[in-house]
């Protein structure tokens, strides 16, 4: 295998080598940045990579690379709480762990008793020395609370997901969730493939963010090989990304109505949603925009006439439903002060997307320079209340902005076009702002252009960790579906 030399595109991604003993100090120094992701990769030695996002004046990313020789690295989740989920994932997949004896929880891989005794699941590195800790709530907390198991098979038309709901009867004391029922081993599956082959599975990692995750992945492959897609192809990606945001926000609005029992509002939102999906199919060939993003560009040109003709009507339906809902006091009251995520919680956990923006963190991956948004900066709506109503308000403002941006990109010219990738070794980071927040992908290619390690981090993988905090904040059972609708995440994106 060829050694991987990460390339840093100036102004966008800066890569630092950090020795393991220095890592703790560096992490303290980087505390003003947002920890966006952390993962390991195997080469001659196992390397720990931390991806830091600068959401400030000069948006961009910093990657720290730390070779791990002795199976341990400095404990980081004490300094950066956002690192804990990844510490557990890395332990499961690579068998390396933070110094100390902090228990590491089960994340991706199912427990032994869920599979036949002889089943062996492949991991990305060596197997951990001990099984990860099973997450189980104590059956009593202070003598009162008990665990209410819910899932994995849930109500009609929802994904499989297991909630461990700790309650004293009505109030949510604690909540944890399992998604290992849906783990498809995607990062393992992508190894050895070319980016073009892998893209098929990347789009299906979280189908409701197919454009964003596909774009992030394609951009990672392009950064790794030093290529740049044609500008008109990047604008097509942006059109598709905004269409994806629009239909997702319409779907989230329908889900919010369903969870609050407003059938009329739900129907109105679903009419808008269906019209947007039909618009997607007419303009770009797929209701959920699969296959639009290609490695090195896009394979399809959007039908600008269809979008210009159909979008005002579809968005008009969306707006009509939203305005009617905002005039419905019983709906607004139900959303207000429900599922609060504080600014401090959002920052500490590194939350992204509408959830973070509703809690006062106006970060958006579209503001990172170097992409099609350079000449078309999006307005980033933010709220500070951090409740369901604030998230709904952020989504409505984003939808309006998406419609404006689509018009601008079509005016600037969006077409098909692909830059062929050279067969060369390299590594790169890619990003895109999905409807549920920043989607990241990192990959390393060998000299034949095949993937040696691909890391996928959809927005869902980040934001579920804020879900239990939102549910705990003085909420009762019936608030949980409302909070879930306002987060609008997928179990598929978390499980991968």
């Amino acid at each position: 295998m060829t050694a991987v030399e990460p390339r840093a595109v100036p102004g966008e991604v800066t890569t630092f080598q950090v020795a393991s003993p220095d890592l703790e100090a560096v992490v303290r120094d980087l505390a003003n940045l947002r920890l966006a992701d952390m993962f390991a990769a195997n080469g001659d030695t196992t390397t720990l990579r931390m991806v830091w996002a600068n959401d400030g004046e000069a948006p961009g990313y910093v990657i720290t690379e730390t070779p791990i020789d002795d199976g341990e690295y400095p404990a980081l989740s004490g300094i950066a709480p956002a690192a804990f989920v990844e510490e557990c994932e890395i332990y499961e997949q690579f068998g390396i762990r933070p110094v100390g004896d902090k228990p590491l929880n089960r994340m991706m891989l199912p427990p032994r008793d869920a599979l036949p005794p002889d089943a062996a699941l492949p991991t990305l590195g060596r197997q951990p020395a001990a099984e990860p800790q099973e997450v189980r709530a104590p059956h009593t907390v202070g003598g009162h609370a008990f665990e209410f198991p819910f899932g994995p098979v849930r109500q009609a038309g929802t994904e499989s997901l297991y909630y461990g709901l700790v309650t004293s009867g009505e109030e949510v004391v604690d909540l944890y969730l399992f998604t290992w029922h849906k783990h498809r081993g995607l990062e393992w599956r992508l190894q050895g493939r070319t980016p073009r082959e892998a893209l098929f599975h990347v789009e299906r990692a979280e189908g409701l963010s197919a454009v964003a995750l596909g774009w992030a992945f394609a951009a990672a492959a392009e950064a790794a090989t030093g290529t740049r897609p044609p500008a008109e192809a990047e604008r097509t990606r942006a059109v598709a990304l905004e269409l994806e945001r629009l239909y997702n926000h319409a779907a989230a609005m329908a889900a919010l109505c369903q969870s609050t029992g407003l059938t009329v509002g739900q129907s109105a939102a679903e009419i808008a949603l269906e019209r947007m999906l039909r618009l997607n199919a007419q303009a770009l060939g797929h209701r959920y925009l699969f296959g639009v993003v290609g490695v090195g560009g896009v394979g399809r040109a959007p039908d600008a006439d269809v979008i210009r003709r159909e979008l005002p009507g579809a968005y008009g339906e969306f707006r009509r439903a939203a305005d009617a809902l905002l005039d419905t006091n019983s709906f607004v009251d139900r959303l207000e002060a429900t599922g609060i995520v504080t600014t401090d919680q959002a920052r500490a956990l590194g939350l992204v997307g509408p959830v973070a923006r509703a809690s006062g963190l106006a970060a958006d991956a579209r503001t990172v320079p170097g992409g099609p948004y350079d000449g078309h900066p999006p307005a980033i709506p933010a709220r500070t209340a951090g409740d369901v109503l604030a998230r709904f308000a952020v989504m409505l403002a984003e939808a309006a902005e998406s419609v404006r941006l689509i018009g601008e990109f079509l005016g600037a010219g969006a077409a098909a076009g692909v830059t062929e990738l050279p067969e060369t070794a390299g590594a790169g980071l890619g990003w895109a702002e999905s409807p549920r927040g920043e989607a990241l992908a990192w990959l390393a290619l060998d000299s034949e252009g095949r993937i040696t390690r691909a890391r996928l981090r959809p927005g869902s993988a980040r934001n579920w960790r804020g879900f239990d905090d939102a549910c705990r904040s003085q909420n009762v059972f019936t608030d949980i579906p409302i909070i879930e609708a306002s987060f609008w995440l997928t179990a598929a994106g978390m499980a991968r």
Binding site: L115, P152, G157, K182, R184, R204, G207, I271, A491, A492
Partner: protein, 169 residues
């Protein structure tokens, strides 16, 4: 024809007719990417409105006649899938929904069975990635036909349950 046989015929007809008017669907996600679920939710939306055709979603497998299964059947999910199927009363049909469920996305490997058919007895296959709501409605119509056949094949006596011995509840 004995009076008993006539009554059994009537019962068969009645049930076949009634399934046509009121068929309850339980959905089951065995590892989808969340898009099939979105299309399934849209079945209840105004453009498609499956209740006008006599279909209803039910949250309980005990009340379900039809199991609408998405995803490639993750091995770790197999127990939950079997439990859901076993909890449904007969006669019942299984509809495999979408490219994953049909075997077009994932191979059989340590993580997934690759197809729903490896674990559950599939009656109807609905292709598409994802199948559009209209494709789902068409598949559901085919499934009603299969269910009616299964009803016709029944004698409505203990012979329908060879696995049960007398005295079982």
């Amino acid at each position: 024809m004995t009076a008993e046989a006539v009554r059994a015929d009537e019962l068969r007809e009645t049930i076949a007719r009634q399934f046509g008017r009121s068929l309850h669907i339980r959905t089951l996600d065995t590892g989808s990417c969340a898009v099939c679920e979105q299309e399934i939710r849209l079945l209840a939306a105004p453009h498609y409105d499956l209740t006008r055709l006599g279909f209803f979603f039910t949250p309980a497998p005990r009340h379900a006649d039809l199991l609408l299964v998405t995803g490639p059947m993750i091995r770790a999910f197999e127990v939950a899938a079997r439990k859901t199927y076993d909890a449904m009363p007969g006669p019942k049909v299984v509809v495999a929904t979408g490219a994953c469920a049909l075997g077009g996305v994932y191979p059989a490997d340590p993580f997934t069975h690759g197809t729903v058919g490896a674990v559950l007895p599939v009656d109807v296959w609905i292709p598409g990635c994802p199948p559009s709501p209209l494709a789902l409605l068409h598949g559901l119509g085919v499934a009603v036909g299969r269910l009616a056949e299964k009803v016709r094949d029944r004698s409505f006596t203990a012979a329908d349950y060879p696995e049960r011995t007398r005295g079982d509840s």
